[in-house]
């Protein structure tokens, strides 16, 4: 049997799988920024207990395999705290996001720390409060420095999102295995999916690099990392 008609026949499912995969990735990236940035600020400017707690969080989420995290939350923690009704997609996105926050917080932290200390001193001496200085002086610079490293989180999360297959999220890899089981065509379908992942991967990276170029301030560059 030829593979192309099969792929066309399954196209709607494949597209829904792609949408689901991208949904996971976007949710995880969004959650990662939402949690990761405050965590980075807390780790740089926070009191000792705050820094300590964030350190533990990061150590935990970076030390565990994504598969174990998914099992832990999907079968263990969420049902135990009464959130057993959450769909696999939501759990997958939340776990990828919580884990992404741990990684991204370290990217943001590095960027914040790489902004010279003089910036804060100068801003304070101009009468800005600490939070105003962070918001209007430090972060606009730090976020630009962080962007190349942050962009690299996209392919990581994209490839990790495939592991959500293990808890039954109907994403691209799940659709692929269903196709393989039903059509008994293995290699061509796997390779087609690999192709889709590669396109999503480098296509997304290209978009992110375009964003970097767009928000760059002329003369203020860390260069392409």
């Amino acid at each position: 049997m030829d593979v192309l008609p099969v792929l066309i026949e399954w196209l709607p499912y494949l597209l829904s799988g792609i949408a689901s995969t991208l949904g996971l990735v976007l949710a995880a990236l969004g959650l990662g920024v939402l949690l990761g940035l405050p965590m980075a600020l807390g780790q740089v400017y926070g009191a000792r207990p705050v820094r300590w707690a964030i350190g533990i969080y990061v150590w935990f989420f970076r030390g565990l395999p994504i598969l174990v995290l998914l099992f832990l939350f999907w079968f263990g923690i969420f049902p135990a705290i009464g959130l057993g009704d959450l769909s696999a997609f939501v759990v997958g996105a939340v776990v990828l996001g919580l884990r992404g926050a741990a990684y991204q917080s370290q990217i943001f932290r590095g960027a914040i720390q790489s902004v010279g200390e003089g910036q804060m001193i100068a801003a304070r001496s101009l009468g800005m409060s600490r939070s105003t200085a962070i918001r209007t002086v430090i972060l606009p610079q730090a976020m630009r420095i962080a962007l190349p490293g942050w962009s690299n989180e996209y392919p990581n999360i994209l490839t990790d999102s495939a592991v959500c297959y293990a808890i039954g999220v109907v994403e691209l890899l799940t659709i692929t295995s269903r196709m393989v089981t039903q059509t008994h065509i293995t290699m061509p379908i796997y390779l087609a999916t690999a192709g889709i992942f590669i396109i999503l991967n480098y296509g997304g990276l290209k978009l992110l690099h375009r964003l970097e170029a767009k928000i760059a301030i002329p003369g203020f560059g860390t260069g392409a990392m």
Binding site: P65, L67, F71, F75, G76, A162, A166, L173, T176, V180
Partner: protein, 228 residues
């Protein structure tokens, strides 16, 4: 059932067996992953244009594909073209390819960071290109690549759990099986998680020791940090 009985008589023995498989997976993959990474990086940086292109494409393809899909291809896909691997062998092969591709990027970064003058000077002293790479460039570059390579090694520890998805009962698989049988998901996954955290933490300490151990006095970590 008593918690202590469950923990010591059922969960921990099962996890011990799984841990052995996990360590076997890592031990079989890591050395070849490192060798592949170095070979691909050198091939890409110093090889014939065709070899260089091949190495570049290899890294491009492997980095673009999820590891889990790669494992599926090796375990479920290859038999359709007449190559049948055991689940363990397929896992190891997948880890070697993945680890190698990522290692290659770190080694290449380190190779680039070694100044051109080193190669020119080595050749001026009568070394061949290959001798210069082996005895002048690589010893410096590999030291600079240690932080990145050890990161990848830690990733390998964690991603070895994906072998469970192609039926290798390693650490997380063993935990999952116990969890399903006794309906103790939180406890089992938590203990599995602790074992991974211990593995990763020990490795972190070990690679830091290694880095200071092989450091050449005068070429400190500052040089490495600047290059990152």
């Amino acid at each position: 059932m008593d918690q202590a009985v469950f923990l010591f008589d059922i969960l921990l023995p099962a996890l011990m067996q799984g841990l052995v498989i996990t360590l076997q997976l890592i031990a079989c993959s890591a050395p070849f992953g490192l060798a592949l990474g170095i070979a691909v990086a050198v091939g890409r940086q110093y090889g014939h244009p065709a070899i260089s292109w091949l190495c570049k494409t290899f890294v491009f393809l492997i980095k673009g594909t999820p590891l889990l899909l790669l494992l599926f291809i090796l375990y479920f896909g290859l038999p359709s073209v007449g190559i049948t691997l055991t689940a363990f062998a397929a896992s190891v092969l997948g880890f070697i390819l993945c680890n190698g591709a990522y290692n290659a990027e770190y080694v290449r970064g380190a190779l680039i960071s070694i100044k051109d003058g080193q190669m020119i000077a080595a050749q001026a002293l009568g070394m061949t290109r290959w001798q210069a790479i082996r005895s002048v460039i690589l010893p410096q570059a590999l030291r600079r690549a240690i932080p990145g390579l050890s990161n990848e090694f830690i990733y390998l520890i964690k991603y070895s759990s994906l072998a469970y998805m192609i039926t290798v009962i390693e650490l997380s698989g063993a935990g999952k099986l116990v969890a399903t049988k006794y309906f103790t998901y939180t406890e089992s996954c938590a203990v599995v998680g602790i074992v991974y955290l211990v593995l990763v933490s020990i490795t972190t300490v070990a690679v830091n020791l290694l880095e200071s151990r092989v450091a050449v006095p005068g070429t400190t970590r500052a040089a490495t940090a600047a290059q990152l």
